[in-house]
Amino acid sequence: MSVKLTIMQQMEQVAREHGKILPPLKEDLVLANCGLDSLGFAVLVARLEDTLGIDPFTAAEDAIFPITLGDFVKVYEHGRQ
């Protein structure tokens, strides 16, 4: 499964568990507006660490601030290389 698809599936899953409804998951979706709060993102990042084997945010030397879903996916794709 692609990194992008894994991320989108996990987002849907976390949103469901947290009782949130996500807008359509497009590349340019601004994460701040996606409906997940900081706890939701913390859970998402932990789940992605389990499935993809990396936490690119903790591993990075500099702080990374992805704005859009596309940016977020790139951080993981980059981290997997």
Binding site: E17, H18, S38, L39, F41, A42, V43, V45, A46, R47, E49, D50, D55, F57, T58
Partner: protein, 464 residues
């Protein structure tokens, strides 16, 4: 059960109890009656009188007998539990002004510590010309691991270790105690002293023995009273050899007894009294709960019970009682507050007429400013029918500082196919979501074949 004060030395209690009582370990049986005009310490015993004696025998049964012999004779006994790092021995010897040691073949090499007297245990009790006159109130020093790994030395005496608690265990018929603890730690020492003063025999644990072999041996000796931590008991319940024992009294202490383990024990031993006790090396035994429910009645705070006074300050349980330790050996460190209450560091929360232990003061996971006690999440996970035990910890999160993650041991079917694993995981998550606020629900669950249980019988918690 009769428990007397300190005027009488332990040896005299043992001599006064009627009938033949035994101490059994895996390889040896010792009849306590032989201690009348007998000694395991041989010709060196008199040289220990009045001294500060390190009980450093590796073998538990040697240490157990030496304790009986030394009470009332030595000025101080320092009980060395297994697993203390050799590097800490010099500190212990210096702090306790140890001038003699009781050793056996398995003891750590004490030569470099410059102890003038070393007495080696005999392989059995040998005749002594006469019993020594008991004349001192011996200090009993227990060595605890402490959270930082630097041992703490806690001072008790026979009175504080044995002050009477209302007999909670069934006393009918001959009593054979067993314990999963080592008797050189507080939880095990309590059981050992109860057995001695109650005129019972005791089956000792052995670190090299499997759980199955230990259970089989407990069964052979017809154990009637058995004590351990909830982690000990979970491990025992997972073992088919559990059917070899049929105790009348099942006792839990040392960790929080959650409803799942109490129910599990009830189902396995429908006829037994199942009690959980609250105790710590410093605060002593505070109470027993025998109604089969987790937590304890809130009215325990209302009045002094068995000499125990309890209160909550800053969320944590404080205890003052005749069973409280006297001091730390290092007197620079206060064991109790000015009012004599010991802060146990255990967080207590009240729900209606019941109080529950929520976890340790220092063990809190901070999720973006919201606090989670691992133990409260574990208690929920452990209620799930597929779960045997769990360990909840914090995992570093770039967003909230930490998130809650759980390692889970399933009660069966550890090697589930992956599709089934995902189903069980999401079912446990759902179970948690129904019972806990969102930030306490694990972000991640891993199935593990086992969880580490320390030599103290408690789950090994690592900061993470």
């Amino acid at each position: 059960m009769s428990m007397a004060g300190s005027e009488t030395a332990l040896r005299d209690h043992v001599a006064a109890a009627p009938g033949q009582r035994w101490l059994w370990d895996r390889d040896r049986s010792i009849c306590l009656t032989d201690l009348h005009r007998g000694t395991i310490l041989g010709a060196g015993f008199p040289s220990l009188a009045g001294g500060s004696v390190l009980v450093a025998a590796e073998n538990q049964i040697n240490a157990a007998i030496a304790l009986i012999e030394l009470d009332g004779v030595a000025r101080r006994v320092v009980i060395l539990p297994p697993g203390v790092e050799f590097g800490h021995l010099a500190e212990i010897v210096a702090a306790a002004q140890v001038d003699a040691a009781v050793v056996d073949n398995g003891s750590p090499p004490l030569k470099t510590l410059g102890l003038p007297v070393q007495v080696c245990c005999e392989s059995s009790i040998i005749p002594a010309s006469e019993d020594p006159a008991s004349r001192v109130c011996t200090e009993w020093v227990l060595v605890t691991s402490g959270t930082t790994g630097v041992p703490k030395m806690v001072v008790h005496n026979l009175a504080s270790l044995t002050a009477p608690l209302q007999a909670a265990s069934p006393a009918d018929g001959a009593t054979v105690w067993g314990t999963f603890y080592d008797i050189r730690r507080y939880g095990g020492l309590q059981i050992y002293l109860r057995a001695l003063l109650g005129g019972a025999s005791l089956v000792l644990s052995n670190p090299e023995e499997s759980v199955a072999d230990h259970l089989a041996r407990l069964g052979q000796h017809g154990v009637t009273h058995l004590s351990g931590t909830p982690s000990h008991w979970r491990r025992a319940l997972m073992n088919p050899a559990i059917e070899k024992i049929a105790p009348r009294y099942v006792r839990l202490s040392g960790e929080i007894a959650d409803q799942a383990i109490l129910d599990g024990l009830r189902a396995t031993f429908p006829q037994a009294v199942i009690g959980h006790a609250y105790a710590s090396t410093e605060a002593g035994v505070a109470f027993d709960v025998n109604d089969g429910r987790a937590g304890f009645p809130a009215d325990y705070f209302a009045a002094t019970r068995d000499g125990v006074e309890m209160k909550i300050v800053d969320g944590s349980l404080r205890i003052r009682s005749p069973r409280t330790a006297l001091a730390y050996l290092d007197t620079a460190q206060a064991l109790a507050g000015a009012d004599g209450f010991v802060d146990t560091g255990d967080i207590v929360e009240q729900d209606g007429d019941r109080c529950f232990f929520a976890g340790r003061k220092g063990g809190i996971i901070n999720i973006g400013g919201m606090k989670v006690h691992p133990e409260e999440v574990e208690a929920v996970i452990n209620r799930h029918p597929r779960v045997r035990m769990s360990l909840v910890r914090g995992r570093q999160s770039p967003i909230t500082g930490s998130v809650v993650v759980a390692d889970v041991v399933l009660s069966s079917g550890q090697d589930l196919e992956s599709k089934r694993q995902i189903e069980v995981k999401s079912d446990i998550l759902k179970f948690c979501s129904d019972a806990l606020p969102r930030h306490k629900v694990p972000a991640s669950i891993s199935f593990v074949p086992k969880l580490d249980v320390a030599a103290t019988g408690k789950l090994v918690r690592r900061q993470g």
